[in-house]
């Protein structure tokens, strides 16, 4: 019997994944609000420090703030990690724009493979986050920041607070990943009421330099963590000192194992690293305990505003603009690296097995759009019949035509009136006049049809009833019970799945058949003398036209 509880190694891995996922989430969000285009390079050889196989830089200050907020905990039910993005004008008005929430709910997926599926899905979720951070309204605002306003971020951990977003805020879900200990959810609530922005008349002020000490008098949450600007200025190197993030030495190695389909082997191997991974990602020399790292940023011009500009005392518990993200309560604090003693812990690699990817299969109708009308059904006919081009017949077109027909054809007609000729599917002329459900129906057991090359036709045709599984030679594709959504139709005594299977192997296009072709040809020939007479009448015009071409 399989142990359904998480093994301790899996648990450790999962906690690590969640932790680094949270840190990377914060990096993606803050970097997307810096006001500059982000660019990182792909690398075909894994460097060992790119979590989730994505090149996401780590701004040390941001990681530091995130860790401070998390204080060693992980997102759990009721304890969410939130990144608040707000806007502050040069006059001092401020407004919350977005709250990004990383939450955990209780819905567990005990079956999922931690080191494989969860890891890959977290990677996918980060990609989605990259995409979504560019489509909320705050992105465009952040790209224009600098003169009239700046964008700030704040990280907190605990209960989500959305009241600062004004009325009617909208929510967009970035995605979810199920794990054995709960489901991770990432979403964004964003303000849509930007009224005060549009009515203000902004003057062109020079970029805000130096320190602006700010008291948010009306701040409802006195214990809130400090706000930080999303963009930084270049500075000298006696500035805010942040450690090379000690955990970045905890690299993630991405080594996966495949296994032949018949086995399911999970291997976890330890990696040994000789060289420390690259960590700091800005152009500053950041002195850390005497060691100086200097790294080139390949792209975005991130830089630091030094903190050595007279930041106030500890009783100022509120945000400090442009102070390089100082911890307001403890300015100039030099934090050493490696709280864990400076020895990089040996990371464990996520191990992957090939079986793990076989999650539930979708039916073809999940997510298929029943579009009201395609431009014309003949368009679909053309597509499917154009197999001589070698194009894999688009199953989508086939699906679409069938569904188009379903909307119109089945509504009022009893089954025996539905003739194939009425239907907008290809090869309708050649189909049996009455829809039959017996096995001797040529649609269900088609003869050899060497001309059509639709892969869907080939692969969907099943020998027996649905639901039967095939042998191990077709391990890539698993037979499923064909239960399309919304498929029960009271008017027709068969369900959509059966119908679909029946009509997926259409016979030859009627216009290719000789009889019908000959018919229309005869008609054409008959009308020729007439046409010739008309052309002869207009011969002068045609000649004139030809002249112009020469």
């Amino acid at each position: 019997a399989m142990d359904t509880d998480l093994s301790s190694q899996d648990r450790k891995d999962l906690d690590k994944f969640i932790k680094f996922f949270a840190l990377k989430t914060v990096q993606v969000i803050v970097q997307a609000r810096l006001g500059e285009k982000i660019c990182t390079r792909s690398s075909s050889s894994p460097t060992g420090s790119d979590w989730f196989n994505l090149a996401i830089k780590d701004i040390p200050e941001v990681t530091h703030e995130a860790k401070k907020a998390l204080a060693g905990q992980l997102p759990a039910v009721g304890r969410s990690m939130c990144v608040e993005i707000s806007l502050k004008t040069s006059e001092g008005d401020s407004m919350e724009l977005e709250i990004w929430c990383l939450e955990m709910n209780e819905k567990c997926d005990k079956e999922i493979k931690v080191s494989y599926t969860v890891y890959n899905r977290l990677s996918l979720l980060l990609k989605s986050l990259l995409a979504i951070t560019r489509v909320t309204p705050a992105y465009r605002l952040s790209r224009k920041q600098g003169h009239e306003y700046v964008i700030l971020y704040r990280i907190y951990f605990g209960e989500v607070q959305l009241s600062g977003l004004g009325e009617g805020f909208q929510t967009v879900r970035v995605g979810t990943v199920g794990t054995p200990v709960g489901t991770i959810t990432l979403s964004c609530a964003y303000r849509i009421n930007l009224a005060f922005m549009s009515t203000r008349q902004f003057e062109r002020t020079p970029p805000i330099m130096g320190i602006i000490i700010d008291h948010f008098v009306d701040r409802p949450y006195p214990s809130s963590s400090p706000m930080h600007p999303c963009n930084y200025r270049a500075g000298e190197d006696n500035g805010a000192v942040y450690p090379s993030v000690e955990d970045s030495q905890e690299v993630c190695t991405t080594s996966f194992s495949t296994s032949p389909p018949s086995q399911c082997v999970f291997t976890v191997t330890k990696a040994h690293f000789q060289t420390p991974p690259p960590v700091v990602t800005d152009t500053l020399k950041v002195p850390v305990m005497g060691l100086a790292f200097s790294h080139q940023l390949s792209s975005s011009r991130l830089s630091y505003q030094p903190a050595a500009l007279g930041v106030g005392s500890a009783d100022m518990g509120y945000p400090v603009l442009f102070a390089g993200g100082l911890n307001a309560a403890h300015p100039h604090q030099l934090i050493g690296p490696g709280k864990e003693g400076g020895v990089p812990p040996v990371p464990s690699q996520p191990a992957h097995g090939t079986q793990a990817d076989q999650e539930r299969m979708c039916t073809p109708l999940d997510g298929v759009h029943y579009s009201a009308a395609t431009p014309s059904s003949s368009e679909d006919t053309e597509t499917v019949s154009n197999s001589s081009e070698g194009k894999c017949g688009s199953p989508h077109d086939l699906l679409e035509t069938i569904f188009n027909r379903k909307v119109g054809a089945f509504v009022n007609k009893p089954i025996n009136q539905v003739t194939m000729a009425n239907l907008d599917i290809p090869f309708a002329m050649f189909a049996p006049k009455n829809v039959e459900l017996e096995d001797n129906d040529p649609m269900v057991n088609p003869p050899e049809s060497p001309e059509t090359e639709s892969p869907l036709q080939g692969s969907l045709h099943s020998e027996g009833s649905s639901g039967s599984s095939t042998g191990n030679t077709h391990d890539d594709f698993v037979m499923i019970d064909f239960k399309p959504a919304f498929s029960k139709d009271d008017i027709l005594p068969m369900d959509l799945g059966t119908f679909y299977r029946e009509f997926q192997n259409p016979p030859q296009l009627s216009s290719l058949s000789i009889d019908i072709g000959a018919q229309s040809m005869a008609e054409d020939l008959d009308s020729l003398p007439e046409k010739l007479a008309v052309h002869e009448k207009n011969v002068k015009e045609f000649d004139a036209f030809v002249e112009t071409l020469q």
Binding site: A131, G390, H474
Partner: protein, 233 residues
């Protein structure tokens, strides 16, 4: 380029589900390329991994995927794409052909471009390999003509907002965590992934398009597959 003839009927096989998604956009002529590229790149961002490096004992490591922001010139919009010049070039080539076809005579500005992800299944001689699609994205494009600069400005913003919605739709689909091909062994990797690029590894895909001409019939143009990995009979 090699022939795309890659499909053969098989007499028996398990049911294969190909999910299909349709997105529609109405754009000005000069916005076609950027709008379609934004959608294609967003999809491929989610459907590309780092390069696999197989080692002994059946283990493999995965390379790193970089990303970059792209600003549109004719649309108030920005999107993220995978940092791969090869992939970008391939998509631009396909989209360029689509745009030219849309502009061609006889077209009333309607057409659709499809991005299909498929797996290859080897067949025995004399049959050629099968291409089994598992995900199909269709972008329906409707080109509008605008009369003046003011309308154009509004169009810039509107199309930008629409594209934001499309990105959200795409992400929704991706988040469903539906069927993805099994991670392949080294011998199978070319049946699942396109391994010809040097820095990233998208799932095997092909792009095709069709244009609706003014008579309402379609002029089907099939794009030859951009990356060569098919076997011809």
């Amino acid at each position: 380029p090699p022939s795309t003839r890659c499909c053969a009927p098989s007499s028996a096989g398990p049911a294969m589900n190909c999910r299909a998604e349709v997105l529609e956009v109405s754009v000005e002529g000069r916005q076609v390329e950027e709008a379609v590229l934004a959608v294609l790149h967003t999809i491929l961002l989610h459907r590309s991994t780092g390069k696999f490096h197989y080692k002994k004992e059946g283990t493999y490591s995965i390379g790193t995927v970089g990303t970059q922001d792209v600003d549109c010139d004719f649309i108030d919009f920005a999107y993220v794409r995978v940092s791969s010049e090869e992939l970008d070039r391939a998509l631009r080539k396909a989209v360029g052909e689509f745009k030219d076809a849309l502009r061609g005579s006889g077209s009333d500005g309607m057409g659709q471009i499809s991005l299909e992800f498929y797996q290859k299944k080897k067949s025995r001689w004399p049959f050629s390999d099968e291409c089994i699609p598992w995900e199909l994205w269709t972008i329906k494009v409707n080109v509008v003509n605008l009369a003046n600069e003011q309308e154009r400005q509004i169009c810039r913003e509107k199309v930008g907002e629409k594209l934001c919605e499309k990105i959200i739709n795409i992400v929704e689909v991706m988040n469903r965590h539906e069927y993805l091909p099994k991670m392949p062994t080294q011998s199978e990797v070319d049946n699942v992934f396109d391994t010809s690029l040097k820095d990233v590894q998208p799932y095997l895909y092909k792009i095709s398009y069709q244009i609706t001409d003014s008579l309402g019939t379609s002029v089907t143009t099939t794009m030859r597959r951009l990356i060569k990995d098919t076997l011809a009979l």
